[in-house]
């Protein structure tokens, strides 16, 4: 076991009756890195996270935190990790301060009052400390959840869609805080989200799940490189019919946005010079070219629609 591996998951599987929700999932997270766990709804992300935090028992497979078998040393492992989710809340009937005191006791946090105040200051929630949790807005709840998830100075945090239901401004602020945490504390994070821009922004590695299996595992950049098709937008100063005829000849999928703009989709990158050459040769006067490179969203769509990449 390498010392810089904080979480190692090996052949993790979960069977619910006849349904195989998670199948032979294997990955590991290095110290200080952020791993994105992606997949369409029902791909097995939530079940995987639930097994990783010990609230659902795996059918088979091994989970190891910091070299310790999770099954055997559950309390030890849980004392060194934490969890933040948009879906798990704190106790709504009591105040933020009271909730954080309870969790400080559960995690044996030394000097907990000082710690709570420091973290609340960091996440800018000090003014809500004495408000009951159920009166907080979604953004405030998310930040309070993040305070809770840092109470025990975890070495790894599992975050299940922490920015879900947040407006773009609050989501951006939350992401900035997560980036700051990673940098300042050398924190490892397992991050799930449906927002591909977020994943591209904060993740070093991405695991794509499809029907419970790992269908791709790489850096966000390498994953986007695997998609060879690109989208090209051309603005031309010629007859529309001429452009159409040329594009039909090279067998492209295209749609005219107006009389002078055409959007050519699913173009093999290698064919781009050829298309431009043929259009020029047919006396099409191209005034602007915009090539839209594939991003993680395209990877996501390809995996969810075709099952692989």
């Amino acid at each position: 076991m390498r010392e810089d591996i904080v979480l190692s998951v090996s052949n993790l599987s979960k069977q619910f009756g006849p349904t195989r929700a998670v199948s032979d999932v294997t990955f590991s997270i290095k110290k200080g890195s952020v791993m994105g766990l992606l997949g369409a709804n029902g791909a097995g992300k939530t079940t995987t996270i639930q097994m990783l935090v010990g609230v659902t028992t795996p059918t088979s497979g091994e989970i190891t935190y910091f070299g310790h078998d999770f099954k055997k040393d559950k309390a030890l492992c849980l004392s060194r990790i934490n969890f933040a989710s948009a879906y798990n809340m704190l106790q709504g009937r009591i105040s933020v301060w009271e909730n954080l005191i309870v969790f400080s006791h559960l995690y044996h946090v030394p000097n907990y009052k000082k710690k709570i105040l420091e973290l609340c200051d960091f996440f800018e929630v000090t003014e809500y400390l004495h408000k009951r949790v159920w009166y907080l807005s979604a953004g405030q709840k998310t930040r309070v959840n993040l305070v809770k998830s840092l109470l025990n100075d975890p070495e790894l945090i599992l975050m299940d869609e922490p920015t879900a239901s947040l407006d773009p401004d609050i989501a951006d602020k939350t992401l900035s805080l997560i980036e700051r945490l990673k940098k300042e504390r050398n924190l490892s994070i397992l991050y799930t989200s449906h927002n591909m821009d977020e994943i591209t922004r904060i993740c070093d590695d991405v695991v794509f799940l499809g029907e419970g299996r790992v269908v791709a595992h790489d850096t966000p950049l390498n994953l986007t490189k695997r998609i060879k098709k690109t989208t090209m937008k051309l603005i031309f100063d010629s007859k529309k019919q001429l452009v159409s005829q040329t594009l039909n000849d090279v067998k492209c999928e295209y749609v005219f946005q107006n009389d002078n703009t055409v959007l050519i989709s699913h173009v093999d990158e290698k064919l781009v010079p050829n298309i431009i050459f043929k259009l020029s040769k047919n006396n099409v006067w191209i005034t602007d070219i915009e090539i839209q490179k594939p991003d993680l969203e395209d990877v996501f769509l390809q995996i969810t629609r075709k099952g692989n990449i």
Binding site: V53, T57, N82, L90, L106
Partner: protein
């Protein structure tokens, strides 16, 4: 271990002091029932039926000690499930044992507070008490056996709720009502049909309510009653711990445990 148990006790204090429902369900309804039974007892006693009224009233006070203890045990997890905070707690290093010990303490404390309030009400309003015929050992026996039985019921109900989800949450406060007629709280076992008497004597607390009636009219009670009640209550507790452990594990295996927090 102690700090985590303390953390759960602190949480219970925070919830209880802010929740009118908790105060109503435990102290208010319980004390109101005792007051009503107090008047019924007073009326019956005035009709040349000495002892009967006191039997009813003391039965009610002991029953409330049992009910509140069980109710507290099964309702406490619900507060956290309803807030979607239950899994959060078990994602911390909190163990099942720590969780249960905290719930036992909370249940015992709440039922003891209600018991003391009810005794005071009976003393102040009806100028009576039924504990004068109880020895210290008998009193400790009653408290311990009733608490063990309440925890046993609570453990099984909690386990069933974890396993099948909040759609059967009504069991948390409704199940114990089924037990009440079977354990002969307000009437002697002898008035029941024979086949029901057999069932009744399978419950440890039936013996206690029989003992209570004997003590009220100044009789001594057979030591075997207390011994059987103690043995049965320990047996119930061990079996219920096993059932809870099994249901808890089954709930984590079926995925229901995590789903409970999804509402």
């Amino acid at each position: 271990m102690i700090r985590r148990i303390f953390g759960l006790l602190v949480q219970e204090w925070y919830i209880s002091k802010r929740s009118l429902e908790v105060i109503m369900d435990t102290i208010w309804y319980s004390t109101l029932s005792v007051v009503v039974f107090g008047f019924v007892a007073k009326y019956i006693s005035s009709q040349n039926q000495p002892g009967i009224g006191e039997m009813l009233l003391s039965g009610m006070i002991w029953w409330e000690f049992l009910r509140i203890n069980q109710y507290s045990l099964t309702l406490n997890p619900m507060w956290n499930i309803w807030s979607r905070n239950f899994c959060n707690m078990f994602i911390s290093p909190l163990s099942k044992t720590e969780y249960l010990v905290a719930q036992f303490i909370v249940g015992f404390l709440k039922s003891s507070i209600v018991f003391i309030i009810n005794l005071l009400v009976v003393r102040l309003v009806f100028n009576t008490t039924f504990l004068q015929n109880y020895s210290v050992l008998t009193f400790i026996g009653f408290i311990s056996i009733l608490a063990l039985f309440a925890w046993s019921m609570g453990l099984v109900i909690m386990g069933i709720i974890f396993l099948y989800g909040t759609r059967i949450q009504a069991l948390a406060w409704g199940f114990i009502a089924v037990v009440q007629p079977l354990v002969a709280v307000f009437f002697p076992v002898s008035v029941m049909p024979l086949w029901l008497q057999t069932i009744s004597y399978l419950f440890p607390v039936t013996y206690l309510f029989e003992i209570n009636r004997l003590l009220i009219v100044g009789f001594t009670y057979p030591a075997s009653y207390m011994a059987i009640a103690a043995l049965l209550s320990v047996l119930y507790f061990i079996i219920s711990l096993y059932i809870f452990k099994h249901f808890f594990a089954a709930s984590q295996l079926s995925g229901q445990f995590a789903k409970n927090d999804e509402g």
